[in-house]
Every structure is written in C-alpha cells, then in structure tokens.
Symmetry: C2
Subunit: 148 residues, 2 copies
C-alpha cells in the first residue's frame, strides 16, 4: 500500500555532505570576499599573497597545487599582485625553469592588515560554532582537504 515511499523519496539533499560543503563554502567565500574587497583583494589573490608571505616562498607550481588551480590561472594572479608591488618573481637558482614567488615589504604589510579583517569576518561567520566545534571542524576538513 505504500509503494510511493521508496528509498528515493526518503533521500534528502540536506543530508548530503557534498551539498553542505558547497553551501557552507559559498557562504564562507562571500564573507571572505566582502572582507577583502576594501584591500583590493579576493579570497583567491589573498591566498596567493598568504603563500608568498610564508616561511617557504613557493613556486607557481606549488601555489597551483596547494590552491587547486591550473598553473595558467596562477600566472594571472601573480601578475596582478606583482603589478601592485606586493610580491616578486625570482628565478629559482636550483631550477631555473621555476619562479619563486616572494612577498615584498608592502605585500607583508597588506597581508597583515587584510589578514586581520579576514580573521574578524571568519570569526563572525563561525559565531554559531563553539571553539571546540571550530577546532574539530578544522581537523576533519583538513583530513578531507589533503586526502589527495
């Protein structure tokens, strides 16, 4: 008598982890881009700048891998940041095909200012989660994010 209630009917998109991931990411991206707009940055360019500010200045290939971008997209991002004097390309002495991307003093300064705003914006977005929940979420996501 209940032939209309099959397994398909019971499935719900809201239980789908990939859907939740997509929706949470869309919100997070919106917050991030809004916080970065006043600095002339977006999440994408901010991430490149962040890597260039790190302890181990990355090659463009490493940026592409870490950010899951095509190397050709990294060219445009680095071009834009370099034109603003925020970072430099230095040919790697060990492998002269590779460009090492390193932040300038101005790049570090902007990263500090923008980073503070991003952190505040992210904090506001995450206010619905406790500190332990945030830590737990970060741990679970990092396992997933670097599983391949």
């Amino acid at each position: 008598m209940s032939e209309s209630v099959d397994s398909a009917t019971r499935r719900d998109l809201s239980d789908d982890l990939s859907f939740l991931l997509a929706r949470a990411n869309a919100l997070s991206l919106g917050h991030g881009n809004a916080a970065l707009a006043e600095h002339g940055l977006k999440v994408r360019s901010y991430s490149v700048l962040a890597m260039a500010c790190g302890d181990a200045p990355p090659s463009q290939r490493e940026i592409a891998d870490h950010l899951r971008l095509d190397p050709s997209q990294v060219v445009a991002l680095v071009d834009g940041l370099q034109a603003r004097g925020l970072l430099e390309r230095r040919t790697d002495a060990a492998d002269r095909r590779a460009n090492v991307v390193v932040a300038t003093a101005a790049g570090h300064a902007l990263y500090d200012r923008a980073g503070a705003d991003v952190a505040a914006s992210e904090g506001a977005f995450l206010r619905v989660l406790s500190d332990t929940d945030r830590a737990h979420l970060a741990r679970l996501l990092s396992v997933l994010a670097f599983s391949e």
Copy 2:
C-alpha cells in the same frame, strides 16, 4: 633578536577554515561531477533534480534560495532538465506567479540511478573519515551552511 618572527609569519593558510572549506569543496565537486557525467548531469543540475524529487515540490524561488543561486540561473537549469523530460513546471494554483517544479517518472528514475553513483563516489571520497567523523562533520557543516 627575533624581530622577524612576528604574528604574521606564524599564520598559515592551512589553519584557515575557509581555505580548508574551499579545498575540500573543490575535491568534492570534482568527484560529484565525475560521477554524474555519465548521466548527463552535474552537481548543480543533480541538486535541482533532487529537490524536484522531494516530498514537497519546490518553486524556482525556493530552489534558488536552497542552492544559493540567482533565480536567473535556476531558469537555465530547469530549462535543461525539462527539455530532457526529467521534470515539469506547474503553475502554483495558490500563487499563479510561481512555478512549482516537479520530477517526472523519468526524472525519478534518473535520480535513483545517479543518486546511487553519487553516493558511491562520495563514499570513496570520505573513506579517510570514520562513520562517526562523517556524522560529526555533517552536523557541524549543516549548522554553518544554514546559519544564514
């Protein structure tokens, strides 16, 4: 003596929850689209079909809100699925401005088949997490995903 090690130097993109969210989502999206390709679907169109297969057939406005899309994008998605005979637009009797989107028998059948593949693909992607970790992650993400 350690003036070069300031707060900026210690920050790392890999600790940034929004970055982890973006990277995990990129991987998840890749898996989902790959699993759906053989059915002529993508994550976007599959999500619309899933809603149309639900117990409460949604209006296009509701689809746009739930999927965080602009209403104009929903038009194209529904057009494509309707052209394939997978769903129908029915004008809502209660509000004749609104289109209620409801799956056809063919739509339900495809949703069942594609859904099984999506679930298998998602399972493979999530293999690095235990069942309890998956449940925990889903709970944390749904809080975040529907916090606004």
